[in-house]
């Protein structure tokens, strides 16, 4: 069984992304890093993974072994402005989204389940801290300085040999260094807004995780090569030229694209299909979207308001275990939609769309928009 220790010999540049992200565990201050892990294709368990928490409250919880979290009447649920039921701790003021819509279930039943889950996840976190096998990630709040980081590291190490990564927003590429106080200090270009935490800017976080894993293992600060296009050769070679697609008349949906052999691919990895689409004024369909099976994680559909110009769309998804082959491509929805064009198809083992800021040159020249 592979080691989960942050000091495992496999460096950040060589580990598959899903394995790399599994080395880390979020301890706040909100759900952003938890979403980084989701978009990277993993769903680890974590007491604080989707919780909002102030550092002073987290320190109190660590110093008290989270003893009061979820005990007695500590927890309560309430309808949030997002219309979901949120759960909050009276003692520690931790707050998280239960995932239940307000009105969808009896709040008392939700509360009972959340109390059990908190108890379970609390036990796991304390075990993780004892083992010291995860790199604990804490987003720094605006007021959190070296004194807070030092206090947090002390509080964590009371439980075990913790590695703590404090992350701040700073211009420039993602970076990490060992602070003289013993914790790791990392930077990403920007954080997602607190009221739009799902708007994660993913690439810097992934770079940060790789650099951190390299640093902890004492390896050179290298990043993996850019992903390669996994589409069949004939499609790769001709992808610069616009292709015309005519959805079948009378059909609610038509999918255009190759059958991909899934055998050589890493089923645990997130894959992203990117392409450029050109929607003429005559298109009458209800939507055009990139498609990789039906397990979408993130996606960007075509804007039907943008006509007679190229626009980039993508979908990130996980691959189904039970299929040997899978069709990937473009789905046009709506009967008698009419034709449209595409170019620059790129399928990669990556949670991010292909970086090209413009469609292929041949496509631009042939379809000026």
């Amino acid at each position: 069984m592979p080691s989960d220790s942050p000091h495992d010999a496999s460096g950040g540049a060589t580990l598959p992304l899903h394995a790399l992200l599994g080395r880390f565990e979020s301890i706040g201050d909100n759900c952003e890093f938890g979403l980084v892990q989701r978009y990277g294709g993993i769903e680890p368990l974590g007491l604080m993974r989707f919780s909002a928490s102030r550092i002073d409250h987290l320190l109190h919880a660590l110093d008290s072994d989270f003893a009061f979290y979820g005990q007695g009447d500590d927890l309560f649920v309430y309808p949030h402005v997002t219309n979901y039921l949120f759960c909050r701790s009276r003692r520690y003021d931790f707050e998280y989204n239960t995932g239940h819509l307000a009105g969808s279930d009896d709040p008392a039943a939700v509360l009972k389940r959340e109390a059990r889950k908190v108890g379970y996840l609390k036990r796991r976190l304390l075990e993780d801290l004892r083992l010291g096998e995860k790199i604990l990630v804490r987003k720094a709040g605006p007021q959190d300085g070296p004194a807070e980081a030092a206090a947090l590291l002390r509080a964590l190490r009371r439980h075990g040999p913790a590695e703590l990564l404090i992350v701040r927003a700073a211009e420039g590429p993602a970076s990490v260094r060992r602070h003289e106080g013993g914790w790791l200090e990392g930077t990403v270009a920007r954080f997602a807004p607190y009221d739009l935490a799902a708007a994660v800017h993913l690439p810097p976080w992934l770079d940060l995780c790789r650099r951190t894993a390299n640093l902890v293992q004492g390896r050179p600060d290298t990043l993996p090569l850019p992903p390669r296009n996994l589409l069949p050769p004939r499609l790769r070679l001709s992808s610069g030229w616009p292709r015309r697609h005519r959805p079948e008349a009378g059909e609610d949906q038509t999918v255009f694209g190759p059958l991909i052999d899934l055998q050589p691919l890493d089923r645990k990895a997130v894959h992203t299909l990117t392409c450029w689409v050109w929607i003429p004024r005559s298109y009458r369909g209800e939507g055009i979207a990139a498609a990789i099976g039906d397990r979408r994680i993130r996606w960007c559909e075509a804007d039907l308001g943008l006509r007679e110009r190229w626009q980039k769309i993508h979908v990130s998804a996980t691959l189904p275990e039970e299929h040997r082959k899978l069709r990937v491509g473009l789905a046009s929805r709506g009967r008698d939609a009419g034709a449209f064009r595409s170019a620059g198809w790129f399928l990669a083992e990556s949670p991010e769309p292909a970086a090209a800021a413009r469609p292929p040159r041949a496509a631009r020249l042939l379809m000026r928009g």
């Binding site: 769903e43 993974r49 995932g99 379970y120």
Partner: protein
Amino acid sequence: MTPDEIDARLTEIFREVFDDPTLVLRPEMTARDVAGWDSGRMVDILMATEEAFGITFTTREVDALARVGDLAETVARKLAGG
């Protein structure tokens, strides 16, 4: 407890967690194969499994669970004293 008995009990657990009496488990099944199987439901599955079999999973054991088959094998190993 035989492997078939473990599978039968796990099937009951999954059916209860997902409120689906028709759910059929396969060893190769993963979270991606069952709608709504997120980290929250995973906690429900783990707690119910620990309670049903009188075992406790370690963090390492949980992190190594990729498929339903892994869960069944881990339960069997722990029941056998491993």
